[in-house]
C-alpha cells in the first residue's frame, strides 16, 4: 500500500513538472488556446493584452486610427428627443402627473388583459402586485427565501412590491415598452397615472402618505421619493464611488459567491441534501416537456408537401397586427376560430363591427394599434376573422 502511494506521488510530481514545462513551452511556442493574460477583470475573468499586433489568437491592424472620425455632432434637440431615460435619483423624469383613479381606468383598458385584475398576473404575463412584503430581522423579504426543493412548493413572488429595487424603472418600463402590443403610445401623464395605480396596488406609501387612495397624485418629485421594500435586496453594491471595486471583489471570489466546482479526478464525493451528507442520487425527468414547436423530428427525408400554400393578404395582415390578442382567448378579445364568441360579436352587425375595428373599442386601439392599415385592409381583415370563425 505504501509503495503504491509512493508510486502515485512520483507520478503526480512528474505530471506536475511536465505540465509546468508544457506551460513554459506554450508561451514560447504560442500553443493554440494558451494566451498571455492577467487576472482582475471586473467580471472575474482574465484580461488579454493587445500588444505588438497580437490579441490572443487574433492579429489586429497596428496602424494608427487617430483621427478616424465619421458621423456628425448630435443636435441638442435630437439628444432631448432620445435621452429620455430616468435614473433612481429622478434624473431624467419628465414633468407631468396622474392620479390613482385615472391609473385604475387606464389599467383596466390597457393592462388588465395581460397582467390581470389589480396587477394580480395572468396566463403567463408578469404579476405586478401582491406577494408578502414582510421582512426578517436582517431586512430581507422573507418570502423571497422560498426555495421549491424537498417538497416545498411556495415560489418566491417577484412583484414590484416584493422584489423590484427602484420605482423609476416602473415609469420608464411602462412608457417605453408598454402596452405590449403598441408600446410608446401613452402620454407621460398617463404613465404617471398607471405607475401610481400599480404602486397603490402594492400598498406602498411615499413620505408617509398612503398611495392607495383614488385622489393620490403621482408626479416626478413624489416618484423619486418612493422607496420600494426590496431596495436593499441586491448585491454586489453598484452605487457610489466604490461600485466597480465591489463588483470586482464579488466576482473574484466566485467559489463563495456564485458557486464553483473542484477538479477532483478520483473517488469524488459530492455530498449535499438538507443535512449536507445525503448522498447524491440519479434524478430523472418526472414529466417531460415534449410539447415543442416544430415537433421533434430527426429523419433525413423530404419535407411533407404543403397544401394550398399561398396565404391571403388579409391573413398576413391579421398575423401581423391582430393575432397577438385575437389568436388566444386569454386577452379578452374574441378568439379567431371561436364560433360562439364571434356570433356574439356579429349580432351588432357587420357595419358596427367594422366601425369598432377602425375606431377602436374597449382595450383595443384603433386598427389594433397599426395606424398604417387602410380602412379597406381593416375590412378585409375583419372579414377574414369572421370567416375563419364560422361553424363548420
Amino acid at each position: 500500500m505504501f509503495k503504491l502511494d509512493r508510486k502515485l506521488i512520483t507520478i503526480g510530481m512528474t505530471l506536475a513538472m511536465s505540465s509546468t514545462f508544457a506551460l513554459a513551452a506554450a508561451s514560447a511556442q504560442c500553443i493554440p488556446g494558451v494566451y498571455k493574460s492577467k487576472p482582475g477583470a471586473i467580471d472575474g475573468g482574465v484580461i488579454y493584452p493587445r500588444e505588438n499586433g497580437v490579441y490572443t489568437a487574433y492579429r489586429y491592424n497596428t496602424q494608427s486610427t487617430k483621427g478616424v472620425s465619421f458621423g456628425r455632432t448630435a443636435t441638442a434637440n435630437e439628444i432631448k428627443a432620445w435621452d429620455v431615460d430616468a435614473r433612481p435619483d429622478g434624473t431624467g423624469l419628465p414633468e407631468g402627473e396622474g392620479t390613482v383613479e385615472e391609473g385604475d381606468e387606464l389599467y383596466e383598458t390597457q393592462c388588465a388583459v395581460c397582467h390581470g385584475e389589480f396587477g394580480g398576473g395572468g396566463k403567463g404575463y408578469p404579476q405586478l402586485a401582491g406577494g408578502n412584503q414582510s421582512k426578517d430581522k436582517d431586512g430581507v423579504v422573507i418570502t423571497l427565501k422560498n426555495q421549491r426543493e424537498y417538497g416545498k412548493t411556495d415560489a418566491p413572488k417577484r412583484t414590484v412590491g416584493t422584489y423590484w429595487p427602484v420605482a423609476t424603472t416602473l415609469f420608464t418600463y411602462i412608457r417605453d415598452a408598454m402596452p405590449y402590443a403598441h408600446p410608446k403610445s401613452l402620454t407621460d401623464n398617463e404613465v404617471y397615472a398607471i405607475t401610481a395605480y400599480i404602486l397603490a396596488q402594492n400598498g406602498l406609501e411615499v413620505d408617509g402618505e398612503e398611495m392607495d387612495d383614488d385622489e393620490f397624485v403621482l408626479n416626478k418629485e413624489k416618484l423619486m421619493k418612493v422607496v420600494l421594500p426590496n431596495r436593499n435586496g441586491f448585491y454586489p453594491n453598484i452605487d457610489g464611488p466604490k461600485a466597480q471595486e465591489n463588483i470586482r471583489a464579488f466576482f473574484a471570489d466566485r467559489a463563495k459567491n456564485i458557486g464553483m466546482g473542484t477538479r477532483c479526478m478520483k473517488d469524488c464525493k459530492d455530498p449535499g441534501g438538507q443535512d449536507g451528507k445525503t448522498p447524491a442520487a440519479v434524478a430523472k425527468i418526472k414529466y417531460e416537456m415534449k410539447d415543442v414547436v416544430p415537433p421533434y423530428a430527426y429523419a433525413k427525408d423530404l419535407p411533407p408537401e404543403t397544401e394550398g400554400g399561398s396565404v391571403s393578404k388579409a391573413e398576413k395582415l391579421y398575423d401581423a397586427s391582430c393575432k397577438l390578442c385575437h389568436g388566444t382567448d386569454t386577452m379578452g378579445a374574441p378568439k379567431v376560430g371561436d364560433a360562439g364568441a364571434w356570433d356574439a360579436v356579429m349580432k351588432k352587425g357587420m357595419d358596427k363591427v367594422l366601425v369598432n375595428a377602425i375606431k377602436g373599442m374597449g382595450g383595443m386601439p384603433p386598427k389594433g394599434g397599426n395606424a398604417d392599415l387602410s380602412d379597406a385592409d381593416t375590412k378585409s381583415i375583419v372579414e377574414f376573422m369572421v370567416n375563419s370563425s364560422k361553424k363548420h
Binding site: T169, D176, Q244
Partner: protein
Amino acid sequence: MNREQEEKLTSASRRDFFKKTVSVSAVAATGLVVPSTVLADDENIMHHVKWGTTLGDECNKNPYGVPSKYEHNVVRRTSALMSSAGDMHAAISMTPIAELEGIIVPNGLHFTRTHNGVAHVDPTKWRLMIHGLVEKPIVLTLDQLKRYPSESRILFLECPSNSAAEWKGPQFGTAQFVKGMMSCSEWTGVRLKTILDELGLKPEAKWMLAEGGDGSEMSRTLPVEKVLDDVMIVYAQNGEALRDEQGYPVRLMAPGWEANLCVKWLKRLEFGDKPWYAKEETSKYTALTASGKAIQHFYALETNSIITSPAPEKDWTDLKKGDLVEIEGLAWSGYGTVKGVDISFDGGKNYVEAQLKGLVLPKCWTRFSYMYKYEGKPLLLQSRSYDDSGDIQPTVNQEKKVVGVEGVYHRNAIVTWAITEKGEVSNVQIRS
C-alpha cells in the same frame, strides 16, 4: 411488379443484408479485407441513382442558397415554457446544438430571444447616438459606422436563462432544450474604443447605457472598464449582415457576457457617472439566491460544457459492443479560454481528461473529444470544463449549495446523460 410486391422484396433483401452482415462480421474482425461474396449487394451501389441520371437544377436557381431539403428537420424549436409572457413575442427559440458541427452556427439556426417580437429595422432610417459624458456627442448612419476600421471575433452568445428550466430537476429530454439557448458566430464590427478615442470620454464616465430601438426598448448598464477592453458594435455575422432576429442592422457585442447585455437593434449609447437600474437589470436578469437577496449586474457566463454526441437526440442505439466511438461536445467560458474538459462515465465519481480540438479561442465555443470503446453497459456520462481564469464547472449540488434553486439565471452545473444498455440516452441529474 406492383408497389406492394416491391416493398416486400425490398424489406426482405434488407433483412437478408443485415443477417449476412452479422454472420460475416466475425470474419471481418480477423482482418480479412478482400471483397466479400457473402454480403448482399447494396441497391444504391448496384444501380444508377436518380440524381445521377437526371439533369439537376440550374446553377443559380436559389440566388440565396438554402439547406438541402433532406435537412428540413434541423431547425430552431421553442415551447410554451420558453415564453416570458403569455405568447411567443417575448420568447426564446433553441439552437439544435446536437445536430451541428464545428464551432460556427449557421445564421438561420442562431438561437433567438425577443422581448417585443422580432423588429424589422429600415437600415436607411437607422441611427446610432453616442452621447452623455463625452466631449463630442455624435449620430452615426449605418454607412458611417461601417467606415470605421473593422475587427472580427468568433464568440459564443448565451442567454443567461440557458438551462433555467433545470434548476429543480431535469425537465427537457433533448440537448437542444437543455442547452440550446446559445450559439457561436464570427462577428464583425467596430471596437467601441476606436470610436470613443475620438469622442473624448470624460473621466467621470463610469457606466454606459446601451439601448435598443425595438418595441421593448431593451436597455442595460455596462461598466466602462469592460467597454474599453473588448466591447464591439457589430453589423455582420458569419460574413453577412446580422439577421433580423439578431438585431439587424446593429447590435452591441460584449464578449463572454450575458447575451441580453449585447443589446439588439442598437439605438443609443449614453455614458454616465451612475448606473441606470433599467428594467432588464432589476425586475429581470437578477439572480435571486436562497438568502432572499439577488445578484445584480451578473455579467460573464461561467465555464460550461455539454456532450453533444451522444445526446438524447443523437444516441448510441446503432453501436455494437466493441465499437470505438468518439464522444464529442462543446465547452465555453465567458471569463476567458477553455483550458480543458474532464469526462466521467459514472456520474461524477471518477473523471478522465478529454482532448480539445479545432480552434481554441477566448469566449468562444471549444470542441472536445474522447475516444471510447463502447461496451453496451449503462453509463452516467458527464463533461466538466475549466478555464484559464481558474473557473471550474460545478456539480448540481455544488452550485445549488451557494445560490439555491430559484435564481433562474447563470446555471452552469454539470449535465448528465444516462445511457442504457441499448444505447438510449436521457437527461438526468446527479443531486441530493
